[in-house]
Amino acid sequence: MKKRSLLIVIAVIAIVAAVWSFAMWHNPPRETLDQRVQDVASQLICPVCQGESVASSPATIAQQMRAVIRQQLQAGQSEAQVIQYFKARYGPQIVWTPQWQGFDLMAWLVPIALLLVGVVILFYVLRSWRAAVPTRDPPAAPAPGDDADAGAINRAPTDDVYREQLERELAAEDPIFAPRRTTGMEAR
């Protein structure tokens, strides 16, 4: 029984992985020249507009820039080279996104680093919280709640287990009612 469900999981994961990797290989993104022009243009800022990229701006200069990008790409330049060309002509402000070099790297690395720091902090905080628990509920021993849960599942059909869980949660759900609930208990 357990083995069969495991096999199903593996099969499903394998199929999904196959589909995703097939899509990845089958359809290399940004193939056509139009798309490459669009790709480069969307990384450049339209110099005369406010907050629009060369790709999306209808301004004349943006149209001309798109034509230049097309020419250069057709001439065999790489996308990075074209961007470099515009950067040399119009200054670094023309580029819409920070590049992966120099000080600009900070723009990318800092958020990633902060996120990792957050994960690490969370990990340690959780560990210290769990370390604080043992007086009440030693985590090393098989957790009693777990067993009760599993036992309940074995005995009762899914619906009942679910209903029980739902009821338990709903009961404790709304703290607005919590004081009243206790008074109700006292009254009884």
Binding site: V12, V16, V19, W20, F22, A23, M24, H26, N27, Q43, I45, Q50, G51, S56, P58, P92, Q93, V95, W96, T97, P98, F103, D104, M106, A107, W108, V110, P111, L114, L115, G118, V119, L122, A132, V133, D137, A143, G145, D146, D149, A150, A152, R155, A156, D159, D160, V161, R163, E164, Q165, L166, E167, E169, L170, A171, E173, D174, P175, I176, R180
Partner: protein, 692 residues
């Protein structure tokens, strides 16, 4: 005497009453005098009254076209229809500050009127905090940024609102968003009151939750409306451009979202006390930061309609808030003994922690990107630009992970979840996701990231709908029809199911974002009459341009027939409107037609005479889902927020709310060892059982 003089007078009186409230409030709290607190409470009502009077006098000045008032002369003219003239009230900087102050005073008054529900010890401190914020705004309005300044000579006509603002969006988006910004003051005041009074148990959190939910719903509406407005007016085919000002509006929303989730952990498990205080302070500080950023012109933005020198004052105010809150926070830190007992990361609280981490990650990444131009300027003397591609590639995956966590959360139980239960709960949504991943390529979706995104959405939607379905099925087995079961389920446990509805709305919104981000197609063409352009199955036949003259406006429109795969669909008229006073700023009339879930977005980019036009067409798949999702989120927010009937109610509505809870707790206590079979009974039966 002019109407505007009444405004000045009212502001002065409002300031006086704000001071009065602050002093009596502090005295009342110190001396524990209910009479002084009561007096402070009425002081708040007086402040609200005078700010309403001041705002009314400004609106009246607008409506009677009193161009002697500089602000009126600048923001309105005789040609504007009355509703835009009245909306010009918040169209400029001075008026929008007055609106901020007005809304703060109105919300404070609502709080003052319902103060009985809040913990009594906190009330005076809350009133004082609110009035301190209010004082800042009134002082600004009386000194550096007064909307009531009069001109020596009144012009015959005013300049008028920027034509971009003369749009139905103007009537709802700015007031909603500003109200959203402002409304974070109330939770902040609660937090400050809790810290000042030292009553740091969960009482303040309970009272705060509905206020925060209200703020959150207002801000959600404001943001979605802003996106909708941009989409309909700006003509670049998108709805969100990661502009600094847009980001600024997103920050408090994200912080409030994190707060709403982490409070649940504190309420249920007593954890995260310090963290929740931090989040609510951050939400308020970020909303002041947003207000500051919009007005300072510090970072270049499309929204900088109001450059001025008041940025410095806002920065000072922000600094005071941050220093004061941090000081108070550190001072009270020893008192906040955590009472947490954390069992397992595979639990509901674990999912909430993940949610908070991701939301904070998004805030930091976005804030970093927003400020990076300044930072790079300081370090390298080159102002780098950080545009949408940066945010898309940094925030996109984080949002996707957030949506995944959103689906996982409800599947996990509090404290810990055993693998068996987890597997059982997980299987249905996981299968939905797998099915989505496999089916999509058959429909021509080959982009891997889009596929991953859609599959994650399918997972979360599957999880939420499965949860709803199971709840409904349990009730159905006890004799309720499905639709009634659904309604009673949602109606009774509004917090829980309202939250699920919000999640469903967000999934719909995410589908729209993913669809339009990956599959938007765009085409430009210069057309002469009779010529056709075609783009992914749609053809557009051009017939020429025509002009219309209205009151104060000139309009140019192009005529295009839309054909879809050889079938005639309709005629569209994209155009431009020229306003008299702003002849060099024509406003676009964009034609957006929705076919199923796809928007056909036609924009007149340029034209020559009557017989040539540059037409830009975007095909935006799934964009309508964004507006639908926003609407669902608002509805879910309102369901969560909707007040529970209090004791005064008929009782019949009141009791059933408690009944199943009572039975559940009782049964749990009494027959804990056995697997309890607790029926969820229809209302009347539940009632009787509770009474018996």
């Amino acid at each position: 005497m002019h109407v505007s003089d009444i405004g000045v007078l009212s502001l002065v009186l409002a300031l006086a009453f704000a001071f009065y409230t602050i002093i009596t409030g502090i005295l009342g709290a110190r001396r524990r005098s209910p009479r002084l607190v009561e007096s402070a409470r009425r002081g708040v009502l007086a402040v609200a009254f005078f700010l309403i009077t001041a705002s009314l006098s400004l609106i009246v000045s607008f409506l009677i076209h009193d161009f002697g008032v500089a602000y009126v002369a600048h923001e309105s003219n005789l040609a504007m229809p009355w509703y835009y003239t009245a909306a010009a009230f918040y169209g400029g900087q001075e008026g929008s500050l007055l609106y901020w102050g007005l809304m703060l005073s109105v919300f404070s008054a609502i709080f003052a009127l319902t103060a009985k529900r809040a913990p009594a010890a906190l009330v005076p401190y809350i009133l004082v905090t609110l009035m301190c914020i209010e004082t800042f705004f009134i002082l600004m309005l009386l000194t550096v940024s007064s909307p009531f300044v009069r001109l020596p000579v009144a012009p015959a006509d005013g300049i008028g609102l920027n034509p971009l603002l003369e749009d139905p969006g103007m009537l709802i988006h700015p007031p909603m968003l500003l109200m959203g910004y402002m409304s974070f003051s109330i939770p902040y005041a609660f937090a400050v009151a809790a810290m000042l009074s030292g009553k740091l148990n969960s009482d303040w959190l309970r009272s705060i939750r509905r206020w925060t939910l209200a703020s959150w719903s207002i801000q959600t509406t404001g943001l979605v409306l802003g996106a909708w407005w941009a989409y309909h007016v700006l003509g670049w085919g998108g709805y969100w451009s990661w502009d600094p000002v847009e980001n600024a509006a997103l920050f408090p929303w994200l912080a409030a979202t994190a707060f709403l989730h982490s409070t649940m952990v504190q309420e249920r498990r007593g954890m995260l006390k310090v963290w929740n205080l931090f989040l609510i302070i951050a939400a308020f500080a970020l909303s002041i930061f947003g207000t500051f950023e919009v007005r300072s012109g510090l970072i270049s933005s499309v929204h900088s309609f109001a450059y001025s020198d008041i940025g410095g004052f806002f920065l000072a105010f922000l600094a005071i808030i941050v220093v004061f809150s941090t000081g108070l926070f550190i001072y009270r830190l020893p008192k906040m003994r955590p009472e947490q007992e954390f069992d397992s990361p595979v639990s509901r609280e674990g999912a909430f922690l993940l949610n908070n981490l991701l939301l904070l990650g998004i805030i930091f990444a976005t804030l970093w990107g927003t400020l990076f131009p300044l930072i790079s300027q300081a370090f390298t003397h080159q102002t780098e630009t950080v545009g949408p591609p940066f945010y898309n590639s940094v925030d996109g995956p984080l949002f996707l992970a957030l949506i995944l966590a959103m689906g996982l959360g409800p599947l996990l139980a509090w404290r810990r979840t055993s693998m068996r239960v987890l597997w059982r709960n997980l299987s249905v949504p996981a299968l939905a996701a797998a099915a989505c991943a496999i089916i999509l390529p058959l429909f021509g979706v080959f982009n891997v990231w889009a596929n991953v995104g859609f599959s994650v959405c399918a997972f979360t939607a599957g999880a939420v709908i499965y949860e709803l379905w199971r709840g409904v099925r349990v009730r159905h087995k006890h004799g309720e029809a499905y639709h009634i079961a659904l309604f009673t389920l949602i109606g009774r446990y509004r917090q829980r199911y309202g939250g699920y509805i919000v999640h469903l709305g967000l999934v719909a919104l995410a589908l729209g974002v993913i669809g339009s981000f990956f599959f938007q197609t765009q085409q430009d063409a210069v057309l002469k009459p009779g010529q056709t352009m075609s783009i992914v199955g749609y053809q557009f036949k051009y017939f020429g341009n025509y002009e219309e003259t209205g009151s104060g406006t000139d309009t140019v429109k192009a005529i295009l027939q839309v054909w879809s795969n050889g079938q005639y669909e309709g005629t569209v008229f994209p155009g431009r409107v020229f306003y008299q006073n702003f002849a060099n700023q024509p406003v676009s009339l964009i034609s957006i037609t929705t076919y199923g879930l796809t928007d056909v977005y036609v924009y007149l980019a340029d034209w020559t005479g009557a017989s040539q036009a540059t037409i830009r067409v975007f095909i935006n798949p799934l964009v309508p889902l964004i507006w639908l999702g926003g609407l669902i989120m608002l509805i879910g927010g309102i369901i969560c927020w909707w007040p529970e009937k209090r004791k005064r109610g008929t009782g019949a509505i009141n009791r059933p709310l408690r009944a199943p809870q009572n039975t559940a707790t009782r049964e749990k206590r009494e027959q804990a060892p056995a697997a309890p079979r607790v029926p969820i009974l229809p209302a009347q039966q539940g009632d009787q059982e509770a009474i018996v």
